[in-house]
Symmetry: C2
């Protein structure tokens, strides 16, 4: 089809869509002017931008069902979007598709302190759940950095993490039930209130599936009792390798801290300049180790962790003795991203996970690559679970620098895979890491993913082009490990 013919088909589809949407929804819930579409052109990964054919803002499950049914009828892609804070481009619109915003699904439907669950709509902000649960002494554990803004539906779609996931698990470990609209417009309830659920584990399958298997319209999250006490220790090191070793020593001692974070020299300096948290500027690395639990447990653990840090070669170990001091210790860590934003025109936040034991080696290799690519890297990350967040500093206005940054970022992810890790810790794959999926998985594994996708969305209309690359794309990327001399099930290689 010629480009003009394609455009004209698209424009016809667009007109039909908008007309049909307007019959389903009040006028203010259907956006189609360029001006109205622009705010939706990207999510937190601003390097990719696209305009959808239309944006729809349903506020009932029935409306979502009808929207999806209509898209299926017209073979139009559907991209669901929560708060749009994702960092891997998972909510990037499809230029021939509809953006389905769940912003109006913002109600907390129930907080049940006895069952320790909250039933919420997908557009509810992560932090709002903990706020609603606070009067009962409860909270929702996963805490992405964006928790003040990100919505729970997106958290589920990306299987989001956060500082406290080391002890309390990822989103998948903290939800109990989902209501999902399938591509046929059917409303499916998965999971349940029991410990185990019969049948295949669709709850885990849906979590982290990046909007490719269904549209989440309700989430029941588990709530945890607020720990009696939380205390944080700050340790400085004059060598990143020692800091990495200390992380292993704490975990090997059988202690699971509530959070165990590392910042390197560049990150410490940037954070200190920005928020003046009193960090030991000049240290090669700091660790922040938070311990929570009963009073007795925390006292015992604080003592033990201080010992371990000293034995691991810490040059300084401080314990926050008041809640004000604890907040101050965290202030620098929490401000680290914007702080790095102050010292560089642009930065690119990577997200990969490695087995903890490879921390020293990977940090060293990243430092070498930083020199090779002539791009500084600041490290601020969840050391306890080996979840790296290297921030590559660059200037998008310098020709070629964005491309060099993206290549460097890709190499970091490949290094994670090389040492037995994965290309995502908590940000998902989205558009950003789709090529690295070809490094992480072989053709057989990708084929299983495609078979699952085919089972639940045979026409491939839900968030196409994200998260799981086609075998064809991998072959082009040059990373396809072809199995037994041929691509298996080539008929599935269309998503």
């Amino acid at each position: 089809m010629s480009t003009t013919a394609k455009q004209s088909t698209a424009s016809t589809t667009r007109e039909i869509l908008i007309r049909r949407f307007k019959a389903l929804l009040p006028a203010e819930q259907v956006l189609s002017s360029a001006e109205d579409l622009h705010p939706y052109e990207c999510d937190g990964l601003s390097a990719y931008r696209k305009l959808p054919l239309a944006v729809v803002l349903p506020d009932t499950i029935e409306q979502v069902q009808k929207i999806v049914e209509l898209c299926a009828e017209l073979d139009v892609p559907v991209v669901a979007r929560g708060a749009g804070t994702g960092l891997s481009g998972g909510a990037l619109p499809h230029d021939q598709g509809v953006l389905l915003s769940l912003a109006r699904f913002n109600r907390i439907l129930q907080v049940d302190p006895q069952q320790r669950v909250a039933r919420v709509q997908p557009g509810v902000r992560n932090l709002a759940i903990s706020e609603a649960a606070a009067p009962f002494g409860l909270y929702y554990a996963p805490d992405p950095s964006s928790q003040i803004a990100c919505s729970i539906g997106g958290n589920v779609a990306e299987n989001a993490g956060g500082v406290h996931c080391l002890k309390y698990g990822l989103t998948v470990h903290n939800i109990q039930q989902l209501k999902v609209v399938t591509i046929d417009g059917e409303l499916l309830t998965i999971g349940g209130s029991g410990l185990d659920a019969a049948g295949y584990d669709l709850l885990a399958l849906m979590t982290g599936s990046e909007g490719m298997l269904g549209v989440i319209v309700e989430v029941t999250v588990k709530l945890l009792p607020k720990p009696e006490r939380a205390q944080v220790i700050l340790a400085a090191f004059d060598d990143v390798v020692n800091a990495g070793q200390a992380v292993g020593n704490i975990i090997s001692a059988g202690i699971i801290p509530a959070g165990l974070e590392m910042m390197d020299k560049l990150a410490i300096q940037a954070a200190e300049d920005f928020v003046h948290a009193g960090y030991p500027v000049g240290a090669a690395a700091i660790l922040l180790c938070e311990l929570d639990g009963t009073n007795e447990e925390v006292s015992a653990h604080v003592y033990q962790v201080r010992e371990i840090l000293n034995q691991s070669g810490a040059t300084e170990v401080r314990t926050a003795d008041s809640e004000a001091e604890r907040m101050n210790f965290w202030k620098g860590r929490k401000a680290a991203f914007p702080a790095v934003g102050r010292i560089s025109p642009d930065y690119y936040c990577m997200d990969g996970t490695i087995p903890r034991k490879h921390l020293p080696e990977v940090l060293r290799k990243m430092a070498d690559m930083s020199k090779e690519y002539d791009l500084p890297v600041a490290n601020v990350f969840h050391a306890g679970d080996g979840n790296l967040h290297p921030l590559i500093l660059y200037d998008a206005n310098k020709p070629g620098e964005l491309e060099r940054t993206e290549e460097f970022g890709g190499k970091i992810l490949e290094l994670c895979v090389e040492v037995g890790g994965t290309i995502t810790g908590e940000h998902g794959v989205g558009m950003e890491k789709i090529n690295q999926m070809c490094v992480q998985f072989d053709a057989l594994e990708l084929t299983q993913f495609h078979a699952i996708k085919n089972a639940l969305d045979p026409k491939g209309l839900l968030n196409p082009g994200k998260a799981v690359p086609t075998l064809h794309r991998c072959a082009e990327f040059g990373a396809m490990h072809v199995h037994h001399g041929e691509l298996p099930f080539p008929e599935l290689d269309r998503f």
Copy 2:
């Protein structure tokens, strides 16, 4: 086809199979005589018995791949079997199929204390993993009652639980990676060593899939550090409802015990008569509450739990002050099943899960049903996570009593669904609960399961007839909730 024609085709298939298997495997690894097949005719659910066409005992992954490939080529069902201790008939042979025993896969391949994982073959016994990890101060947390005998591959297939799952989670929460042979004979590695994994969560999907999506040939389990101290409290109640309430009160106080078990009058009496643990005979119910962690934490929690138990109306609260006393407290609980076996010719162990808050109501209703069916019930169960194990006492030699027992058991599971629970806690669905799957799930939900099955095993050769009923079967059972007036995707209703 006439019965005779069917038998002759089966016998031809059988001959071909056995000839081909003997070309693949040493003679002693292919069993085909009636005498050799008999030990495999059932698993722990002895009410169902079937002989397979042949039993194969591979000892390498390559052999498993070739066996499965051959079965796929000849359209012959394959049922994988570990130690055969399962209680829902998941490893029941298929009378037109091959039983693939993983008994020879009994090696612990690696214990890595730094990464806190063990890589083991699927036939390794659950307890053997903890024994191998003990020198490093580590253990594998899920502890089904059968842990001395059951194998880890079966634990994964059934997503097994145990006393300690309240605090430490089910099998799915304690494994990291699986190697699986697909129905095409391909070797697939799923999961990884990082916190999160990119792509759909096939690890969770495979766990609990009861051998219907692939054959597990290697398992990497997570290991936990042994807690510094464990202490158990025994509380007696003169009313089951108070005991149920106490469970809720402990959990609501923000305490997660390592185990929280309940036994009722009949179970207490039977256990005491058998092992003389010193239980308070005559009590309506006892609770056993185990607390573990650091010394300080356990001391604080023991104090707090004793207070709660007293306030909840316990008539007696005892704390085990030595390890010998702790083992003694547990002795009665651990011997409860054989103890009930001594007082009744037969018993049927049920397994369902309910939201904790419905415990008192469900216990009361079961007592009513017990009168109605004229069959005594002993209750011994994981109260903390609402996982019931009612033991229905009956005599298989009395005409009609087995049928009445099965009907009563089915009603208990339906009651679990009615109050928002599930028909399995940790035993799986297998053959036993396949009709109740129709009560738990509607046609749309079952259709999603069939779509997943179709994606990974399109010919339905892996453990057919288990875990997920056909829509047809549900319609016959009279429990199909027909959606929009018709069965969706009838073409998928063939597994």
